[in-house]
Amino acid sequence: MTTLDRRGFLAGASMFASLGAPAILRAEDAIKIGEVNSYTAQPAFLKPYRQGWDLALEKVNAAGGVDGRKLETIFRDDGGKPEDAVRYAGDLIDAEKVDVLAGGFLSNIGLALADVANQRKRLYVASEPLTDALVWAKGNRYTFRLRPSTYMQAAMLVEEAAKLPARRWALVAPNYEYGQSANRWFKDLLKRAKPEVEFVAEQYPALGKMDVGATIQALEASKPEAIFNVTFGGDLTNFVRQGTTRGLFEGRSVVSMLTGEPEYVDPLGAEAPVGWIVTGYPYGDLDTPQHVAFRNAYKAKFAEMPKLGSVVGYETVNSIAAALAKAGSTDNEKLVSALEGLKLVTVFGPVEFRAIDHQSTMGAFVGKIALKDGLGVMSNWSYRDGAKYLPPDSEVRVLRPAG
């Protein structure tokens, strides 16, 4: 085992790294961001995310960095395990001396990183984890989040669901925190908006192991008028294909979380579920100047269209850069103050990191799935500003004990 020393591995590793990633600028006085994510466990979202990240970093550094210092990122793959994410966060703080932590895809990893950030008093900008607990129940001073949370996306869809004539709803969600809280908020908010609705069935298939035929039959047996879906990834693909064959969606409205994101609708190809009301990202049709510039730069660099992950990676870097510029320092206490109430213009529009709960007001697009050139895209979409889909401040203070 003596041959397995650290240097040998790093040499081999850097050879691998150079295949996949652009060389990292090693400026002596660079500002370091430590980024921990589940690259090998969630590659479909995180490959575009990483590309978006690299694009933003390149842009920031080409413009001279922040206060004359370049930004540098040190990436770590947690393999989908929170305990490894915690170890790398410690490594990044202790050994690599990073100034800021970022990343996280799965909610439990986001929460674990947030807890380390709180313990070590280090800023953590969570990009993707959707759990409400990250900024509310377990929110802390050092943690901020960019993406619209489970609550916000459910609230956006409830607005549409309440307009439908349907009263009998069936719900299907993957059996873990995200799925359960999406269902809970959807029921809660829809009941408030439209008291006459009833929920006739709830299915919780194991994530990634949905027994599709039996689940569809169980939903069918409850004779719903509409369906709320939270499954995504492989489960969603199988659910759509079998549900279509079995006629589950005929004559029924379906309202669905995240299904308009290219990560999840692209694999369905021409079998994309036309007419579903979804949250997502209309990358091809969003023609605001900021988005067109971003899309063109992304296409030029990677020869493919951006996905939602690309936007999240891109704007996470921009948020951190904006906070650094506003604080004029890498002092984490100053950075926290700078991020509270920080405003920036993203490719989706203006966004503010709320001082009250550290949640950004980045919104999402709500629209209907349509087919275009053999691919599912969003039609009749509109942007829903996240600021309008958060509970009143008095409620937020109750939800967030950390203040």
Partner: protein
């Protein structure tokens, strides 16, 4: 609440049968391979996944040939996967023929890691949706519901395949040899049968069946990178519930599980996580050899080569250990925070591995669910610290107590079995514990876990925690060593090597093994409790299958024939994984290659090789 009407009953039964056929395709191959070669083929799920991916690629190339193209692709994928199976057998497993059964398991785990990264590199990260089956795209109306024709086709495939295999095994010479080798492979070899060819053929058949199963999923499921692990565990459950070596049993078990699953979710939708394991636990508790399994003759899972004898440490080794402890104890003087954090973690893993080794190496009981006790210890300490606000010493005591109590219960269930059955029952227990930690949100926080489990001062600093860990882990490892050389340890090894003779000399074998199970669980709990404090948080992943597999790898990598093995294995594997994950994008494949290389070069583990080197040196020194 769902009302069971005749049409719902019928449709759900059909759904169950369709899932059962898919499962049976994979399980049958697994069962045949295990029956003949005794290899617990962890890579069987990888064969299934490769079948799906290859089928997807072939259907794209052969799309212009219509129905012929589709079915040709399915068969082609199965044959190619069969070929890959032969390669795995020839290049890897053939070299491990004489090693205890668990080493091939470790090797197949290396194959799993390599295939995962290879599939990612070749087919990319996105889920791939295959074409629908030509001619079978429609549905039939059953009462008011629609049922896909392709599912009906799948329902027919299961029994057809079962019939085909029955004919193959009853009516051909190859089948005769397979059945003979399943019963007694030494005898078959002694009768002049070319064992190598037989094994290759069996691997081809088993892998091709898995590949066929994967390719047949194309019309109903998106191909994705997680297909392998999710299917292999369920396939193992099917094989064990049916009874090892019984194909009819495997089919009945697949049907049983498919049907229970289909009806279970009508009434308890959240039970999906654990239903399969509940079924297995109940079946094994009632029928220890599965539904159709026969005596213990076919289920051996040797953990240790018989000739290995434990010896007390030599004086030089004792000095070496003392120096290691001193060196680690002095780390706060010269090392950085990260290095101290890693070493603390490796020490904890060493106790975890040593506790499994106590069960496996000394007790001869391979457990696939040892992480349950690690996790229960972690939750015990975390709850004591955060919810109950106990002092740190009480928390660290709560961990082994909780895990030990769980071990007493699990041991009572498990020690009545042996070999693969015991291993699988321990897996079922662990999965039920995992599902509990996942589902019992009020207490465990569900998958969001328990946060803020940081040790109070003076252990809050890296150096303070390292010293605490060093003291406790050194004490734990020393206690395990003392236990191994105590009368109890000798009794345990006697029970492992010759249960009847042990029984005859007055050792109560069952009670000894039960006690060993509880002790191993309690020590895993020590490790879990410390781990919770090291990480500051606890999650259901601590009880997951992958953690149990990690423990197995550490023990086997280090070498099961020595008490030092698990410690070295923990440092080698834990350190390697941490180092690779930090820096290499394809770290899983690299880890897989390293595991394969080590297993092939050193089938007795790292300590085995070291032992041989030292032995040689001593010999040459003596002769010089």
């Amino acid at each position: 609440m769902t009302v069971l009407t005749p049409d719902i009953i019928l449709i759900q039964a059909l759904n169950g049968l369709a899932s059962a056929s898919s499962l049976f395709l994979v399980a049958s191959g697994l069962s045949i391979i295990f029956g003949v070669t005794r290899v617990v083929n962890f890579a069987h799920g990888s064969f299934y996944m490769l079948g799906a991916y290859l089928g997807w690629s072939l259907t794209r190339h052969l799309a212009s040939f219509g129905a012929f193209g589709f079915w040709g692709s399915v068969l082609g994928a199965a044959l190619i996967v069969g070929g890959i199976g032969i390669l795995v057998e020839m290049l890897v497993l053939r070299r491990l023929r004489r090693a205890p059964e668990l080493y091939p398991l470790l090797a197949t785990f290396g194959v799993v890691l390599i295939v995962q990264d290879a599939a990612l590199a070749i087919w990319g990260p996105e889920d791939l949706l295959g074409p629908r089956a030509p001619g079978l795209t429609g549905f039939v109306s059953i009462f008011a519901s629609r049922f896909p024709v392709y599912e009906l086709f799948l329902i027919a495939v299961g029994p057809l395949l079962l019939g085909g295999l029955w004919l193959l095994f009853r009516r051909t010479r190859f089948g005769l040899l397979v059945r003979a080798a399943t019963q007694d492979r030494e005898m078959v070899a002694a009768l002049g049968v070319d064992e190598r060819r037989l094994f290759s053929n069996v691997f081809f058949l088993g892998a091709a069946l898995a590949g066929l199963g994967g390719a047949l999923q194309l019309p109903r499921e998106a191909v994705n990178l997680n297909m392998d692990v999710s299917v292999v565990v369920e396939a193992f459950v099917v094989v064990v519930v049916g009874g090892l070596g019984s194909l009819v049993g495997a089919y009945v078990a697949a049907v049983l599980i498919g049907i229970i699953q289909a009806f279970g979710i009508l009434f308890l939708p959240k039970v999906t996580l654990v239903l399969v394991f509940l079924v297995m636990g109940i079946v094994l508790a009632v029928r220890p050899f599965g539904l159709f399994g026969r005596s213990a003759a076919s289920e051996g899972l040797r953990t240790v080569a018989q000739e290995s004898v434990l010896r007390p440490l030599s004086t030089s080794s004792r000095i070496l250990f003392a120096l290691c402890v001193l060196l680690i104890g002095a780390m706060p003087l010269f090392a950085g925070g990260y290095a101290m954090g890693i070493v603390a973690e490796l020490l904890i893993l060493a106790v975890f591995a040593a506790s499994l080794h106590f069960l496996m190496g000394l007790g001869g009981m391979a457990s696939f669910g040892h992480a349950a006790f690690f996790g229960i210890g972690a939750y015990g300490a975390a709850l004591a610290l955060t919810a109950l606000q106990w002092p740190i010493a009480a928390c660290l005591l709560a961990a082994p107590l909780g895990a030990g109590l769980a071990g007493i219960f699990a041991g009572w269930l498990c020690v009545r079995l042996s070999g693969v059955y015991l291993a699988m029952l321990s897996l079922a227990v662990a999965q039920i514990a995992w599902a509990t930690s996942f589902q019992w949100v009020e207490v465990t926080g569900g998958d969001n876990g328990i946060l803020g489990v940081w040790p109070p001062p003076p252990f809050a600093s890296r150096s303070g925690f390292l010293l605490l860990t060093l003291v406790l882990t050194a004490a734990a490892l020393a206690s395990l060593r003392i236990a191994a050389f105590s009368p109890f340890g000798y009794a345990l090894r006697a029970a492992r090597d010759a249960p009847r003779r042990a029984e005859a000399s007055g050792i109560h074998v069952r009670a000894t093994q039960w006690a060993a199970f509880a002790i191993a669980a309690a020590f895993a709990g020590v490790a879990g409790g410390l781990y919770a404090l090291a990480k500051g948080s606890v999650f259901p992943t601590y009880l997951a299958i992958s953690k149990s597999v990690d423990a197995l790898i550490m023990v086997l990598l280090g070498g099961i024939g020595s008490l030092t093995g698990p410690i070295i294995g923990a440092f080698a594997f834990g350190g390697l994984e941490a180092e690779l994950m930090a820096s290499a994008p394809f770290w899983r494949a690299i880890l897989g290659v390293v595991i394969l290389a080590l297993v092939i070069v050193a089938p007795s583990g790292i300590t085995g090789v070291l032992g041989r080197q030292i032995g040689k040196r001593q010999k040459s020194a003596a002769s010089a």
